[in-house]
Amino acid sequence: MIEFISQPWPWYVAGPLIGFIVPALLIFGGKQFGLSSNLRHMCAATIPARLDFFRYDWRRTGLWNLMMLAGIMVGGFIGMNLLASPDPDIHLSAKTVTALGDIGVSDFSGFVPTEFVSWKGLATLPGLIMVLGGGFFVGFGARYAGGCTSGHAISGLANLQVPSLVAVLGFFVGGLFVTFVVLPFIL
């Protein structure tokens, strides 16, 4: 059993499982699946600085979501340590390996390119842009758009929201720009 679930899960197992989180949260407590709100709750809890956007009861409205986030860290720990795949390599498409090799990625082990995304990589300009810059745009963009992948691409589209469709198209425009313009330039 442990061996069976330690293998990488195919999309048709993982996707539906993620999809069921949406009705589960709605039926359990009328909650909307959306994780980037936690970044707002964390700001409201630590450095609200009298900004109106952070003036609300984060504990009352957001503690459930922060608990979910803490759970995600535990799930990440379990998945990457206790249930780590026997085969540590990610079987990427050969085209992706070639394309990334062409722009300067050589280490394909693990979940992140350790040449850039590591404490050592942080001292390099590409690493700093990817980790700190990437993080900044994720936080800024998620709040500007009013949601991230879970809030728009999954919850929003599940409720057939046109704004979410526009946001998801935006995600891809931004992502394609970085993939084909920014990464080849900085790496």
């Binding site: 990610i90 979940f111 745009f137 009013g146 394609l176």
Partner: protein, 180 residues
Amino acid sequence: MQVIDSQEPEVLAELDPLECIDTEQVPEAYKEKAYDEANAPGSLLVYGLFGVLFGLILVKSEVVSWFRIQEMFRFHSFHLHGVIGSAGVVAATSVALIKKLGIKTIHGEPIQIAPKVWTGIGTRYWLGGIFFGIGWALVGACPGPLFALVGGGVSVLIVAIAGALAGTWTYAFFRHRLPH
């Protein structure tokens, strides 16, 4: 059973377009009760367990992989399109059933999903979406995976989370001057 159409214009008018998505999807009269229930220790534990499950799925399906995100943006593999697409189909079918059958929460509140507010040409969605996509492709992780990876031991992404908090804060600081 009371079915409330979430597309009703009155509901739309009540929502401040600048507000963050409201996470409480029950009618106004039930909100305080729903908050009380959500903050009961037992409920918080259940939300934590939902998180554990989601974190585990993210890792085991390799959604947390920077390389898989590249593969997705390059359209070289169906894997992540399949994960997000099938999640969307299952979620959409479930939400449609919840609405059609007027399913209530386990505590008895009617479920009423707030629509996302569209103003003007929807600037916040396409512009915010583009910014988010830039970050997603750079760091190779969206908010859920960032925390899953830190939990799993990729400690450098604490810096990315700090960046995301700075980004959130920056939005809060400038939001009155940003076009929405």
